[in-house]
């Protein structure tokens, strides 16, 4: 990896901060410096784009709607045994 601009972070440094950048874990100053590097470095920009797509795909696939209607009924039944019946009968 090379340094594309001496005034900016090196590619190696930027890649080291990749996940924290994508996870919004960097402070403003480091975030800005990474952003500046990405503006001028296509190689790193493509890498960040690739990893960002991975994170979006991951969140999408793991966030798939779970059918919890049956489970909810089961939990409510169990809660009734615990003394939840008054609230449930009041709300139907």
């Amino acid at each position: 990896m090379t340094t594309h601009n001496d005034a900016l972070m090196s590619c190696e440094h930027v890649i080291r901060l990749l996940w924290e950048y994508l996870d919004n874990e960097l402070d403003d100053e480091r975030r800005l410096r990474v952003r500046q590097h990405l503006d001028g470095c296509e190689h790193c920009r493509e890498h960040f784009t690739f990893e960002g797509a991975f994170l979006r795909a991951l969140a999408t696939h793991l966030d798939e709607a779970t059918d919890t209607a049956t489970l909810r009924g089961r939990i409510v039944d169990a809660l009734r045994v615990e003394g939840y019946r008054d609230r449930l009968s009041a709300t139907g």
Binding site: W19, T66, D86, T91
Partner: protein, 200 residues
């Protein structure tokens, strides 16, 4: 004593609207911890029963989802026969380098749009199943539930460096699974080269 006796009526009324609101989140968390639907349903139910019993200790205005996750996690850890094998916390630096290697491989195989072009659900599920629960937990809390590293570390009861290592390692392993999946589907250096030739 009936568990409800020491719970104020108004707090009981809140339970359904405040706590059960997070049933999908807790169910998903339990599923990722246990990797078994029946076990996850049992764990989820137990979580809400325990939460109901402790409802008077929940402080209104605080994060109920986190409170429920903590209960769920504690129940899971208590019930689980902890693995005796030593689990090392990988150096985040090593994981970062491995991540870069995977990226380079993906580019070499012409998989720039890997995540958009393939149905990666099956490969992700397979990859997740192979992760230790601690690693799945890091992915769920940060990548799905949008916890910060600090919040996830607090929820998991580990230092922030540990949660970072677990997260990076989990992501790297998942990416490795996706790469292998793509190869199984027939992506190869040869076909990638052929595509580039056609494109040019």
């Amino acid at each position: 004593m009936d568990p409800v006796d020491d719970v104020q009526p108004l707090l009981i009324a809140d339970f359904e609207t405040v706590a059960l609101e997070f049933l999908p989140n807790v169910a998903r968390y339990a599923r990722l911890l246990t990797r078994d639907k029946a076990d996850a349903d049992d764990l989820t139910q137990e979580t809400f029963l325990r939460a109901f019993q402790k409802w008077s200790t929940f402080r209104p205005g605080t994060d109920c989802r986190k409170w429920l996750f903590t209960i769920c996690r504690n129940l899971y850890l208590r019930s689980r026969q902890r693995s005796k094998r030593f689990v090392s916390e990988d150096d985040a630096e090593i994981e970062l380098r491995a991540m870069h290697d995977i990226y380079s491989q993906a580019m070499a195989y012409g998989l720039k749009g890997l995540f958009d072009r393939l149905d990666i659900g099956p490969a992700l599920q397979r990859g997740l199943a192979e992760l230790l629960p601690e690693y799945r937990e890091a992915v769920l809390l940060i990548d799905v539930e949008d916890y910060s590293y600090e919040e996830a570390a607090s929820a998991a009861g580990v230092p922030i460096g540990t949660i970072r290592s677990r997260l990076f390692r989990a992501r790297r392993r998942l990416q490795q699974s996706l790469l292998e999946y793509a190869r199984d589907l027939g992506f190869s250096l040869t076909t990638a080269s052929a595509r580039e030739e056609v494109a040019s």
